[in-house]
Symmetry: C2
Subunit: 377 residues, 2 copies
């Protein structure tokens, strides 16, 4: 269980298989986010049909509602939401720390107020692991602290805390059918990133995540940190770049050696009328689509593109019909998941590096604009 087989490499890119209790996860892989035990507006049948394998859900949200005890009583997250492929839960840390003004961090953990009813709660590494063991995902995450990348002094403190919490998370972890991944922090300070990479790599985690990126730093800073981290990572463990990203980020991240990604972008954009396409990101509410009989993307074989015109999708949006969110979510998730699957195939057949420029060209203009989206779906 939790063995990671690397089947092929090209440059730093890898095509692998991660063995989980809910089936073999082929990598690289893009995971849709299902914050509240559902990928918004999609049934598991639709998720399956569009090619999803790994699905992420959020510990903070499930702890508050419906409660991890209830999820455990219902047979765990897979059974509760009826997703029978691999799942991953985050530690809750990122979302708790995002509750600026209502949370208080100390060396033992963090006290925070629920965004739902204002009630007071406390997470520690032990509590986060206990919740994640109740939820029962295949991959669970160590409790960490993600710092503002531009506050270098605080980044050191947060990294040191993250290291102590990583050890505590390991000690607290008891379920052999869950793989606990460690998380590297260190902001955008090269020394800290190196230190964190070496420390987290030295612990007996079956997989390693890179946290604290795509949280406000520049693309150049993210790439420099990725290169620095990956050169020190053990090759034999799966590598997870948290909260990333755009189509270009996926191509770029895979070329640097990342195996697992998740991001709210495709489903969140969908609910805001935006679709990935080889023409760049489209806002389907735009009046220019009123009479447009083409699909979102003529080269896409998702249900939405195989079935509906842009004119119909625009009508749904203008008429405030929520089916628009369903249909755009199907398209956007299919686009990223199949981009990553196509990249995997190209790594296996040795053509990936040659194809990078044309993929980058095809997906140009789909990058996220402005600030990072919140870490929910």
């Amino acid at each position: 269980m939790f063995e990671f087989d690397i089947l092929a490499t090209q440059g730093r890119a890898r095509a692998g298989v991660f063995h989980t209790p809910h089936g073999d996860l082929t990598t690289p892989v893009f995971a849709p986010v299902g914050t509240q035990a559902t990928v918004k507006l999609l049934t598991p049948a639709q998720l399956d049909e569009l090619g999803a394998s790994l699905v992420l859900s959020n510990t903070y949200h499930l702890y508050l509602r419906p409660g991890d005890d209830l999820v455990k009583e219902m047979g765990g997250l897979h059974e509760f939401m009826q997703w029978h492929h691999p799942m991953l839960t985050d530690s809750g840390g990122y979302q708790v720390f995002s509750l600026a003004g209502t949370r208080k961090i100390d060396d033992d953990g963090v006290t925070f107020k629920s965004h739902i009813d204002g009630s007071t709660h406390r997470f520690t590494p032990e509590k986060s692991i206990a919740i994640q063991e109740n939820l029962g995902a295949d991959i669970i995450m160590a409790f960490d602290e993600c710092s503002n990348p531009n506050d270098h002094a605080y980044s050191r403190l947060a990294m040191e805390r993250t290291h102590r919490w990583a050890e505590r998370s390991l000690r607290a972890h008891s379920r052999a059918d869950q793989a606990l991944f460690g998380i590297i922090q260190g902001g955008i300070v090269p020394d800290l990133r190196s230190t964190s990479t070496k420390f987290i790599s030295s612990l007996p985690f079956p997989g390693i995540a890179i946290g604290g990126l795509s949280v406000g730093e520049t693309k150049g800073e993210m790439h420099a940190m990725l290169d620095l981290v990956i050169q020190s990572l053990p090759s034999a463990k799966p590598r997870y770049l948290m909260g990333v990203g755009t189509p270009e980020d996926l191509i770029d991240g895979i070329s640097r050696g990342i195996d697992i990604f998740d991001c709210v972008l495709p489903t969140r954009l969908a609910r805001h009328n935006a679709a990935f396409s080889s023409e760049g990101r489209l806002n389907l509410m735009n009046a220019s689509f009123t009479h447009d009989t083409r699909p979102i993307d003529g080269s896409c074989d998702c249900y939405t593109c195989q079935t509906f015109t842009r004119a119909y999708l625009r009508h749904l949006i203008v008429a405030k019909e929520l089916l628009a969110g369903t249909l755009l979510s199907i398209h956007n998730l299919h686009a990223l998941i199949h981009l990553v699957k196509d990249i995997r195939t190209s790594i296996l057949d040795g053509t990936f590096e040659n194809k990078i420029p044309s993929w980058m060209e095809e997906w140009r203009g789909n990058a996220e604009r402005g600030a990072k989206l919140p870490q929910t779906d």
Copy 2:
């Protein structure tokens, strides 16, 4: 085209086939409502899977948005919304007359203000038919006036207007690939209902609808009017009871000789957390379902009941996840559509009348409560 074959009868109940350009419609049939060229929250693939055949869409809404000209340009309603089975459009009359205070009726037609932007529009029988010809449904409706059933004097005026408008609708109708149905009015006044039934039956409509019921009268009044109308209707034409109804209404209506039904109830209830079941109507937000591992209805073979627990559905509702509306719509539509299909089978094998008491018992407690729901989905 538009021949109606009655394959079997039992008492007044009939099992038939109505031949349309988009396939044979087996009757009796329950039609989901897709007001704005979509059954809310459901893809056509999901509608198909749950067993839908005929889908109703609303002329008033489509005329305003996206406009019937656009729908025509996109190849008509079937092509626009990608529903390749039979479709029906209403005349727009019911919804325009519901715009109390902003519409003005005269003998030629009705002037009204859009609920979207307040702009002024006018429907006449000729305009309604022209719009419905642009939309291109298989079954279209004559322009009629539905009166308050408790205003008997006005019911006479509205009936007389409906008759003149029926003749004008027939003259305006030009597409041979659309069946224009006439509509009987007359409120709950026996004389008026008899007069209207005879008049509408005398015109060359390939099908006949009963309007102005289920709009505020008692069940007893509705049943009396149904019995009165049906005894004077030609048996060879399909009979459509507009805007009905609950599971009990369907059993009852079929037993009285109705072939076609439509109602917003199953999808509208779904979006308000309510599900049909053999235990009576369930409100899935109820805290009693928090730990309930049963499906909505253990005897139901819809996707929702075959897949999810009540506890999960309640979680989705409490967490404000719109997937709840999708999953409850699937169940509620499946329930009514398959109830009607099961009744059809029982008419064909001669067991319907024996089964009525047990069906009535099974579906007791699912009737709509309080006022009639608006005539949209």
